[in-house]
């Protein structure tokens, strides 16, 4: 967790209320035109490093293209003519010629052993700054760049972006039958294994504070449930009951873990406290009941069950009452993921190998993914707009993310072997 607290937001530049009104766009409309934006390499102030300045702009372009809200335009042809451009007074007429509706200009300066990063969002028509932020950075500039992308997303859409969040996933190296759990930042940096036993380690799930990972491991020769603290490295078994102990999901207050246990002879969903004691049995049925996911208010659980003959998504109260089937079509629906906003349950439809969204009451459903290959294991971003999933469209399984509003897709990993079962965690700084 080396990135906690190294980033200090120094302040914001003034942005007029009048300008704010003009840039708000309708985010609920999937066909809304993307906002085009020019993001030339950052200017360098005193002691600024042109390479870091160029890299910062590159990171920002990636974030904005990922967002589904923006579309970056190529600025290479104009950069040479921008000699003498300044952060305080960008050459609006020049940047307007790129065809972009808006401009991000920034400046990177040396400050002590770290950096001063200034970033602004400009309207080249009105010729003014709409949003400006200053960051004091001790180490890597990337978290500050992503923090600005989050601010910009919030300014435009009313909802913070997904950047500076972390993803855990199962990673199977080529030609092995073993899986370790790996963790990385959304931008692909800080990629590292968090289990290293070279056995089978499956189904990671983050605690709401982003410090604990619940997961299933065969390291004691049985699928058991473990809780690992990724901050201090401690790791403890919380359920090693007979049979399978798997599929953990944290409640949003972090107090409970829902899990699938089979110690009573059949796979059922239980609520456990963080020590692993059973607090509540949720399902009571001779069928397979797996993959619990909590509603954001913690009152309901969605899960996969084949109680009606084949796997479908059901929703029940956490005490097991009022069980309702929510996927009414198809022969095989599984992997429910309740969005943090509560609006949708994402799931895997094996009939067409796509991720679908369904309302928690089953009233409406729509297909989310549209590319070739299989799309599995959905998990929501902390802001509730994006879904990460595994896809084998390039042969082996990689992680991809999709904007649930515009359908914009971005590849997140491309390791050799298979990346499966992503768990999108919380933000790691603010």
């Amino acid at each position: 967790m080396k990135r906690w607290l190294i980033l200090i937001l120094l302040g914001s530049f003034a942005a007029t209320a009048e300008a704010q009104e003009k840039v708000i766009i309708d985010i609920s409309n999937a066909t809304a035109r993307k906002v085009s934006v020019a993001v030339p390499p950052l200017l360098t102030g005193t002691g600024g490093d042109p390479k870091e300045a160029a890299r910062s702009a590159e990171l920002l372009r990636k974030d904005l293209d990922f967002s589904g809200v923006f579309r970056t335009v190529d600025t290479a042809a104009w950069e040479r003519q921008a000699q003498g451009d300044s952060f305080e007074a960008p050459q609006y007429k020049l940047w307007k010629m790129t065809g972009a509706d808006s401009l991000v200009r920034g400046r990177l300066s040396r400050q002590g052993k770290g950096w001063l990063l200034e970033l602004g969002y400009f309207d080249p028509i009105q010729e003014k700054m709409i949003l400006g932020k200053q960051y004091q950075v001790a180490g890597d500039v990337a978290p500050a760049v992503h923090a600005f992308a989050n601010e910009l997303m919030e300014f435009i859409t009313g909802r913070k972006g997904p950047f500076n969040s972390r993803i855990a996933f199962e990673y199977r190296k080529p030609e092995t039958n073993r899986k370790d759990l790996w963790v990385m930042d959304l931008d692909g940096s800080d990629l590292q294994p968090v289990t290293r036993n070279n056995m089978l380690n499956l189904a990671p799930s983050w605690s709401p504070d982003g410090k604990l990972l619940a997961y299933t491991s065969y390291k004691r020769r049985n699928p058991d449930l473990f809780l690992m603290d990724v901050v201090n490295g401690s790791d403890e078994a919380i359920s090693t009951r007979n049979g399978s102990n798997t599929g953990a999901a944290f409640s949003h207050d972090g107090q409970y873990v829902a899990a699938t246990l089979s110690f009573e002879g059949n796979s059922e969903i239980y609520l456990l406290n963080r020590k692993g004691d059973v607090v509540q049995r949720v399902t009571r049925n001779g069928a397979i009941d797996v993959q619990p996911t909590f509603s954001p208010d913690g009152t309901k659980i969605a899960f996969t069950s084949d109680r009606l003959g084949n796997p479908q998504i059901f929703v029940a109260n956490v005490d097991g009452t009022d069980v309702r089937r929510v996927t009414l079509e198809g022969r095989y629906n599984s992997s429910p993921a309740w969005s943090p906003t509560g609006e949708w349950i994402a799931y895997f439809n094996r009939d067409d190998n796509h991720i679908w969204l369904v309302r928690p009451d089953g009233s409406e459903r729509k297909r989310l993914t549209a590319s070739a290959g299989s799309h599995e294991d959905p998990s929501w971003s902390p802001d509730g707009r994006y879904v990460v999933f595994s896809s084998n469209r390039r042969g082996n399984f990689d992680l991809w993310a999709i904007d649930s509003i515009t359908g914009t897709e971005t590849q997140v990993t491309s390791l050799p072997g298979d990346e499966r079962n992503p768990a999108w965690g919380r933000y790691f700084n603010r």
Partner: protein, 255 residues
């Protein structure tokens, strides 16, 4: 007359009481030493641990004068030790005598908690590392697969035993009943299609169905345990029905 009776009695005792399998135990011990020399305790931990457990079982059986079982156990231990030695030799990152990459910092209990903020990798580095190591396969669970116990096949999303499958279960029941000291673990597996966790439950159901059938055929329940690996341990890598049908199975390992 007395001498003759004594000799006769001695002969009966010798015939009815097989000798301690000294040769097999020595061969297994030699294989264990070779595995240790190759760095197996650090570099092929699961495999070496299995071998060690099997060796301990061998000594126990030998002490209890269960010589037939001790002999089989020694042979299995020798095989496992050889797997561990090969695994360790393949693992080029491992230098014999040093602890492998397996231990996290500050991990409690299982020594597997790895703190974030450690060494991170670029995708290119991961690819390069894979090219260098190419880790091989060994036994994940304990015990060993024997020829006399055949895997039982299943249909898609199905844990029912077909008449064909039941014939295999019957043959396996006979094999187990003919060896009263053997304990088996039934492993449930699925094909790659569908969702991992659902498949884990499905594999468990398959293993359970086979166990129930064996109990009905007279095999004592306490001689059998079950485990599910879901879709994680395929025997075939083919992404078509030929591969899938091979992977939908319950396997038997002798413990």
């Amino acid at each position: 007359m007395k001498t003759a009776a004594a000799l006769f009695l001695l002969g009966v005792l010798l015939a009815g009481c097989p000798k301690s399998p000294v040769d097999q135990i020595q061969a297994a011990e030699a294989a264990m030493q070779a595995a240790r020399d190759a760095g197996a305790p650090d570099c092929a931990t699961p495999e070496y641990q299995s071998a060690e457990e099997m060796m301990a079982r061998t000594y126990r059986l030998n002490n209890d004068k269960e010589y037939d079982d001790a002999k089989r156990s020694a042979e299995t231990a020798q095989q496992l030790a050889e797997v561990a030695r090969v695994e360790a030799a393949r693992n080029t990152r491992c230098v014999p005598g040093t602890k492998g990459a397996g231990k996290g910092s500050g991990g409690a209990g299982d020594g597997d908690g790895v703190r974030l903020g450690g060494r991170s990798f670029t995708e290119a580095e991961v690819a390069a590392e894979i090219d260098r190591t190419r880790t091989g396969e060994g036994a994940l669970g304990e015990g060993s697969i024997v020829e006399g116990l055949r895997p039982v096949g299943f249909g898609f999303d199905d844990a029912n035993l077909s008449p064909e499958a039941l014939e295999i279960v019957k043959a396996n029941a006979e094999w187990i009943q003919a060896r009263p000291s053997v304990r088996v673990q039934i492993e449930g597996h699925t094909d790659e299609r569908g969702t991992g966790e659902y498949n884990l439950a499905l594999g468990e159901r398959r293993a359970g169905a086979v166990r129930e059938a064996l109990i009905r055929l007279g095999v004592e329940a306490d001689r059998m345990t079950t485990i599910s690996y879901g879709e994680e341990m395929p025997v075939s890598q083919a992404h078509d029905e030929s591969g899938w049908s091979e992977n939908r199975r319950a396997e038997f390992v002798v413990k």
